[in-house]
Assembly symmetry: C2
């Protein structure tokens, strides 16, 4: 919690490595804060601010191939969950799997079922629960879209060297694993 931990001093390390690094907007914001509140440890901003901003930027571009297919990312995530698990899922399982609320899943399912991408089947034993599965059309849509989507993402990420991507993935995995360990239940 002190202002002098192990992080490299902020405000001048914007370009590391080959000197090709542009200055990012978060660095500029942090610089402003530091000049207004010189005593503050702005370290967390440099991580969290950038994660948020990256997420926002990536989602804009990232979703381009999806939109061509008339799908939002949350919709694609839902279809993807059904595809990758390979079996039927109940609404609650889908909610857990896609990290969204039950109500949101209900709404998405309604639309996706109307579009014929997903089918609903009632449970014989417990008539409260529903089982959802992809229709053939839904399955083909996902299978056709995924390679496109991944190719697109590969292209977007190619601004980073492969080793950089690997390091980034590893660090994020570590952070994510521990954050999830704190709060998130580990799913079955």
């Amino acid at each position: 919690m002190t202002a002098t931990n192990g992080r490299p001093a902020a405000g001048s390390d914007a370009d590391r490595g080959g000197g090709t690094g542009r200055d990012d907007t978060v660095a500029a914001v942090v610089r402003q804060w530091r000049s207004v509140h010189p005593g503050l440890d702005t370290g967390p901003m440099e991580v969290i601010g950038r994660i948020n901003r990256c997420a926002a930027l990536l989602q804009q571009s990232e979703d381009a191939p999806l939109r061509r297919a008339g799908l939002s990312r949350p919709e694609f995530d839902l279809l993807g969950a059904l595809r990758r698990t390979g079996h039927e899922l109940t609404p609650s399982e889908l909610a857990k799997e896609t990290f969204s609320s039950g109500a949101a899943v209900t709404k998405r399912l309604k639309q996706l079922t109307e579009r014929g991408l997903v089918e609903r089947r009632g449970d014989a034993r417990d008539r409260r629960v529903a089982h959802l599965r992809l229709t053939d059309v839904g399955r083909d849509l996902v299978d056709g879209l995924l390679p496109e989507q991944l190719a697109y993402e590969t292209a977007v990420l190619s601004v980073l060297a492969p080793e950089g991507q690997g390091e980034l993935a590893a660090l994020l995995a570590e952070l994510l694993g521990r954050l999830e360990g704190r709060t998130g239940a580990l799913r079955a």
Copy 2:
């Protein structure tokens, strides 16, 4: 675009380093996809999926101190922009500064002005434009909240060693800088 680029092979590298690494949910998802579509290069998922998931998780916890003050993160960002630039800003400048649409800024300003955190002043020369500034109350709120918020974020991030945080910040800065270079205009 080939499946054999420089990234470490996915699916078994979940714990690196000291062996303390928990398995994160994205790793599990990627494993599922790989077993359904073995030919696919899932590299981008490991980066983008994790960035998105981290952003989501962080925002949940992150915003706790803010909520105590009755502020959403976008509201705090707006107040913060006014505080850190140190001068008045027009609605359009605020929109640029907080990466949100003009309409969203209008709405937030309305609420924040009603709450007495922000003041509006009309421009003498050009009567279309407004100039916004923090009230004393608004300024004190931001100044009181920021250290709390940063301390909280520091605590959340402390699941990563300081060097890890530094590396992560640097990699994200590089990614972000180049992504912004592609599309985003570099602001003044």
